[in-house]
Assembly symmetry: C2
Homo-oligomer: 568 residues x 2
């Protein structure tokens, strides 16, 4: 019997002291439950992903020092934790240390380095070459892998299981997108059955710039049954007693491929086992529910980790700002969110009222600052230069940028974080104003297509008995209200069509002509929409960071040149 | 005797038609000079770097189609050109085709894929495994490599030379930073001597988003002498007659390591040689001169390739906007640049006058739009909310953002490209206003430290007999003029000190404590400056693209998390 636990922690990149404190707290819990083995996620020591901080030698040194400081504290328990390893040539490795009796008794180095999507691991790390296994009383017990290693077909875990490893421990920092947890669990359960071994999956939780890590760590039996499951989107601590069959292990070893065991160690595990509290087994979240929680966590952590306690949001009376405001309230608390209505001559009385009602419903501070006089002042100085020119989007953008300037002034004066409210659909086709509604420190729903905005709003409304987002906001046709009687559909197709086109073009890299055939989109619409996506890359390049919830967000995930002539 | 030429072309990413036309024109030139071999740069077919366009299957197909269309046109000449190759598994390769007699007779695949600094090649490409050599009349003649391959110690060129290759052809898209051409030439000449082979270095020229490719292609003799040298920062065509010693080659082959020659082909080269015109041998540029040319080319190409013919610049009467304006004039012509003075109550009469004189000196359109009334309108609506708070940077930023809004309005109305004027020193420490002076489509001098701004201004002034930048602009202590009697040095150390600290911290990743010791910077200054760099990452994340001229620019070159706690 092995008592194994996972500390699902929320680290901060480069916060060696803070992360060490968090590790220490979890070691106390492990003590309390008398665990044999405690597992922490990928790069727990330094936080994930450290990006170019890894190019600083003293960052690596600080990380090694933190690891040794930790090792000094560890006595009979076995602690497994992620850190950055280095060799004498100065090469770096995304690594996992096994600590016991004040010593680092073994180190596994990640073999498969993701370098696609949001990942740049080959920029920093060399691939590990050595597959190792840890034994107890001369019997193979567990082996390690790091994140990607366990996603790869015939990855190191296969050989590990063949060599008798009873527990396949994977430490991860697996970034969230909608549905990722389901995919991941299915993959892990299949691997457990395939290898006939326990799987221990220790995943990071927390927000880090554009990424959210959802946690959802778990321990899976050799039959593919989840025997312990951590919550998603929050710190957690889980443990299970694993009934290890050593006899079976030894039989296996006879048939197994010989592998290098240079770091192999005898783990002397204390044998006293107290009954564990039943682990809380969280229910699976619905897709909308998990996306909502990701957005809340991403917002909460961006604010907290960057030293903001309060946020300010321009409230238009539309659905996007309403959703952003609720997420902000759930992330920071109603006392820490300020809603600002910035009406112009084109704002109708209904949206102005709705903005106020929304803030009242949410219990947040409400400020109204009309922009009419400022707009007039701009038009006045531009009159001579613009005189022969017809009114166009210029005048619309002017208003949006006045709002951006006012929100930023409030931010500067009161140290409030401006949350931008644009959704993925608008950002895709550039139906937004650079430095206007795009202004802000963090763009909460920038990866949320408009059709999903409605679903999230409906979901959150249902959670509560009192009304949050007024129905009039949900039912009113979307409008930027930057000129008279403006509607989004004057310029764009219906969002249900637009979002389907955008998903195919942006997330799936489909060809325009193929899209026409397979999905039956009208050529006329395609010819209008697709070029907008490419033409507006320059705007997206200057947009604030925001939370990734799809398999392909803008930002590190989709690295398109601004300058190019390939629109197909 | 082999007559070898290099077509140093300026391609556009994804512009298959435009690039093909450019290739065709150069083939005509090759015809005229009766070349045996014509070499084009890396990824000439599709442009470089295509980034995530490479993830579109139909982009790869279009590139293959363009290569085959080209092959059809080529008869007796041998043409060597870069394209994206793929295999049956769908893996991509950064490749080089050898075309002769309407056929692709061989393909070399890049072996060393840069994945550091601005490069992401492992995101897209697999590494080539096969080193090949091309022979003529059964005698080894030339071999190929691609960019990075020739920078690597003991790269494929070593084996190629050992196997008898007389000409080592390297096709490149080697992005510029100050001094790169000197480094590169020294490396190439050393390789020529080491291998006793001719080196033919065909480099891309042109601007692509943040990168500038400087060209400077050359042909080097086995004695390490440059026998033909293309100009820097402009398209060019060079050629040389190479006196190939086949006897020697065969001797070499006897001692050489056996290598795979699956693509080896007999090249039947027409033997008629006419005397070549003497190649123009450009003088080496000074460092300041080459940086200036890089800035002009980067600006010119960003505008042209993105469909802008005119640019607009906020002219403050300071040195940064003055330098940006001159670069714009040199890039786009005086008729295509508009200078806008946007004075506030804090703008002194001298800077207002200087702004006007500068525009007059440059022969560009001058517009003056005072922002006082707009500023008053903002203060008026914010009065109630701000009432108990002291005046601070909020009011300064308001002014900068009014200017940003006006410049963007001019951009929107007249389709002018806004050129932002901030330098690297300010951007490093955040001494700039997001959406204010940072606003724009392209930030010309964002990688130019302030001390270098002065050098570039002085250099450009010297080039001309009439005065360009008035001496008063050069001599006046820098000021943002956003409050009374403001000077940059109220907030920042002297730029000579600041720039030295920033270079060590940003470009060299040095540790704060080491900097104090080695360079003797005062602790007090360090403690003030360094945290500013990290705290202002969020601003840089939203800054417009601009031209890289140092070995580490902001942007793809330096991928720092916004959220982190490591400041050392």
């Amino acid at each position: 019997m092995i008592r194994l636990g996972i500390a699902q922690v929320n680290t901060i990149v480069g916060d060696f002291k803070g992360n060490a404190n968090k590790i220490a707290l979890n070691l106390e819990t492990a003590e309390k439950y008398d665990l044999d083995i405690l597992v922490f996620p990928e790069l727990t020591i330094c936080g994930y992903p450290p990006e170019d901080l890894l190019l600083k030698k003293h960052f690596i040194e600080a990380n090694i020092e933190a690891l040794y400081t930790l090792a000094k504290k560890i006595t009979s328990k076995t602690v497994i934790i992620g850190f950055v390893d280095h060799d004498e040539k100065g090469h770096l490795y995304n690594a996992c240390a096994v600590i016991c009796n004040h010593k680092i008794i073994g180190v596994y180095r990640k073999m498969f380095l993701p370098n696609y999507a949001v990942f740049d691991e080959k920029r920093y790390f060399e691939a590990g070459q050595e597959n190792i296994i840890f034994s107890k009383d001369r019997q193979s017990l567990f082996a390690l892998s790091i994140c990607e290693d366990i996603w790869v077909k015939n990855g190191p875990y296969v050989e590990q299981a063949k060599s008798g490893a009873q527990i396949l421990i994977n430490i991860s920092a697996s970034p969230y997108y909608a549905g990722k947890n389901r995919e991941r669990k299915a993959m892990l359960c299949a691997h457990a059955i395939e290898t006939q071994a326990f799987i221990c999956f220790a995943n990071l939780i927390g927000g880090q710039d554009e990424l959210v890590f959802d946690g959802s760590s778990c321990i899976i039996s050799p039959k593919g049954k989840i025997i312990a499951q951590a919550k998603s989107f929050t710190e957690d601590f889980i443990a299970a007693d694993l009934n290890i069959q050593f006899q079976q292990a030894n039989k296996k070893q006879i048939t197994c491929k010989k592998i290098n065991l240079p770091h192999c160690a005898q783990i002397d595990i204390t044998k006293i086992h107290l009954p564990l509290k039943n682990n809380f087994a969280p229910k699976d979240l619905s897709l909308v529910q998990e996306i909502y929680q990701a957005l809340v966590l991403g917002t909460k952590d961006y604010a907290a980790k960057n030293g903001f306690s309060k946020a300010v949001i321009g409230i238009s009376g539309g659905i996007d700002s309403a959703l952003t405001a609720i997420i902000a309230v759930d992330a920071l608390g109603a006392d820490n969110v300020v809603g600002v209505s910035l009406p112009s001559q084109y704002s109708c009385s209904e949206t102005k009222l709705d903005a106020e009602i929304l803030c009242k419903n949410l219990g947040i501070q409400f400020i109204r600052i009309p922009i009419q006089n400022i707009f007039t002042a701009y038009l006045s100085v531009l009159k001579d230069i613009f005189k022969q020119m017809p009114v166009d989007t210029t005048e619309e953008n002017l208003q949006a940028r006045i709002r951006g300037n006012i929100l930023m002034a409030l931010s500067n004066k009161f140290s409030w974080l401006v949350l931008a409210t644009g959704n993925k659909s608008e950002l895709s086709v550039g139906y937004c104003t650079l430095y206007g509604d795009m202004a802000g420190g963090f763009a909460v729903i920038k990866d949320v297509p408009k059709t999903l905005v409605y679903k999230l709003a409906a979901f959150r409304n249902q959670q509560q008995s009192n009304e949050l987002i007024p129905q009039s906001i949900i039912k009113r046709p979307p409008s930027a209200e930057l000129k008279n009687n403006q509607k989004d559909t004057d310029t764009l197709p219906d969002y249900s069509i637009l979002d389907a086109i955008l998903k195919a073009y942006i997330e799936e890299n489909q060809k325009v002509s193929a899209l026409q055939k397979s999905q039956g989109f009208k050529e006329e619409i395609m010819r209008k929409v697709i070029p907008l996506v490419d033409k507006n890359e320059y705007k997206r390049r200057q947009s604030p960071p925001g939370i990734r919830i799809t398999p392909k967000a803008f930002g590190k995930d989709r690295r398109m040149p601004i300058t190019h002539k390939f629109i197909e």
